[in-house]
Amino acid sequence: MNKKIVAVIFGGRSVEHDVSILTGLQFLDALDSNRFTGLPIYIDPLGQWWTGSALKKRSLYPVENGQSADLTAVNLDLNAVNMAQPQLLSRSKKLLGEKIDTIPFDIMVPAIHGSNGEDGTLQGLLEFARIPYTGCRLLGAAVTMDKAFTKQTARAADINVLDDLLIDRPIEGVFLDEKNVAKMLKEAMPNSSFPYIVKPVNLGSSVGVSRAGDMDEMIAALLAVFRLDNQAIIEPFVDNLSEYNIAVRMGEDGKAETSAIEQPEREADLLDFKGKYLAGSKAGSPKLDAPSEGMVSLNRVINPDGMTVAQETFIRTTAAKIFDMLALAGSVRIDFLCDSKSGEVWFNEVNTIPGSFAYFLWQDAPNPMSFVELTSHMIDEGFRLSKARLGSTGAAAGGATIFQAG
């Protein structure tokens, strides 16, 4: 059998650049080698694309200005629409001008978390170039990147979510007015008071998320968000907070299937970026070929005992409903907040490209699936979804025939 070439793209211009490298390499390591060959594509923080088998070695990172002899700078060929296979192009200067080499592949796996990868931009580019890819389509990826819009959609479908207030970044030269913020808080959430939680609307992960205990902290938190994003979302801080996460994928019968439920363990008030992704690795420790495993090494309880049947049912049915409603695909992780004293559970957000593709949640799912099975599932689904997309014209359409005389 001819092995399909699976281009896994990771890194990227995102605050979650480093974690994305881990997710991408983990996916490559878990490909079914009887069916697929992996092709790593790394986007450095400046946006340059690189390929080369050296990328599979974790000891290569960080790549210093891409100046590794084993890497090749590449572009995506957007004109390969009518070719048999998508391809990358690499240009090199030769004695008699420029030489262009092509590197073919069959499908692309976006493994970039957050901006410019998980948010629909890459998906749009791939749709445009008719390149098969895995995971959510353009709409699902774009909608879920906007935390506020996702919550509005959920609210409209009668899913329990926290109240919120959206604040736009003030135009340059204008300062945040405390009184104005206080007034807006009162209007949007009349039953709440400090503390609040402040988050960027459009970033994944926990980057830029902080807790505001009073107005001073609120202004500081908003300023921190506005360094990263154009819009902030403020929600009441949930007392006795515990979080529940669940992964969802399309089952063989076409129905959304849910994974095991995890409860991240944490000591701090809030799981910040460091706590979430650097768990298990010491700063300054030697770079091994197997460093912290990112989301995998985070302390967590799988299928926690404290969860009631009603909570579990809410989490599973809500997760499946959101997956269907937004026509999601791949292995997405849906996060919930819970007040462990009152027992109330709220839908929080969707990660369409979660860390490690949340494979560890599938191992203990009601219908367990190994990581190798998961990568195969995502690739098969990606081919199917990309093939099913209509709306493009073929050769028969001619083109601009209205201008024909007669």
Partner: protein, 251 residues
């Protein structure tokens, strides 16, 4: 022997996990977790490693196998039938000895980067190795007669990291690395899965292919892109994908 259990304590079959040289049971935990639903998993610290005291000085892999067999019986781990041995590197030497010396206790063997057979070396390599042996003996002789300390310098310069760090286990180390388990492998009858990383420089695929030729009932699989140690961490999912169908065949 110190041990750590994973999976259903009443489950069947029983998997006995045997780690590599210089490691302890922790090295095998990620993979054992992936296979936990297949039965009961007992991960040992082998004698002289982790929290298990060493056997006598200079004990070889046959001694390890005999001690393990005795221990399994004493702990009632073979009560419901023979066990599945799953080893890495040095642990595979013990597995092969177990299968040859105590076949009634062993249902199947899974070897990951298994050691135990001599590699084909170039004449140049052999020449260098024998000169080094002579040099080492001369150093020791000189130390004895002339009270020099050449031997220490020799070890520092030419001894492998495992040899240098072996401490009280050095005699065992020497006896282990010089043995060649051809006869034991040929005597192995149980189903055996041989898994080797294509980039493994400690126990290269060549050793796995030799085992495959010697063990009648064996399957050999080479895993692209993995080395001797990272096959256990980032390679765990590929190992799982090979081991599951093997278990379905065997169980």
């Amino acid at each position: 022997m110190h041990r750590s259990d994973i999976g259903d304590p009443a489950g069947q079959p029983v998997f006995i996990w045997l780690h590599g040289w210089g490691q302890d049971h922790h090295a095998l935990v990620p993979l054992a977790k992936l296979l936990k639903r297949f039965g009961r998993h007992v991960l040992f610290d082998l004698p002289g490693f982790g929290q298990t005291p060493m056997l006598h000085k200079g004990a070889g892999t046959a001694d390890y196998a005999d001690a393990l067999a005795k221990h399994l019986k004493r702990q009632n781990l073979t009560l419901k039938g023979p066990v599945i041995l799953i080893g890495h590197s040095f642990g595979c030497r013990v597995s092969v000895q177990m299968a040859a010396r105590h076949p009634a206790l062993v249902r199947a063997v899974i070897m990951i980067g298994g050691a135990g057979l001599k590699r084909d070396r170039s004449q140049m390599w052999n020449l260098r190795a024998s000169s080094l042996i002579i040099l080492g003996r001369l150093a020791r002789l000189s130390d004895k007669i002339l009270r020099t300390s050449f031997r220490q310098a020799y070890t520092h310069r030419f001894g492998s990291a495992d040899y240098r760090n072996a401490g009280d286990m050095r005699d065992t180390f020497v006896s282990v690395v010089t043995e060649n388990l051809i006869a034991e492998a040929a005597a192995t009858n149980c189903p055996t899965l041989l898994l080797y990383g294509s980039e493994d420089s400690e126990t290269p695929p060549e050793i796995g292919q030799k085992y495959a030729a010697l063990i009648r009932n064996s399957q050999y699989v080479e895993l692209e892109g993995f080395g001797h140690l990272d096959i256990l961490s980032r390679g765990a999912h590929q190992l799982e994908a090979q081991i599951k169908p093997f278990l379905k065949e065997v169980l």
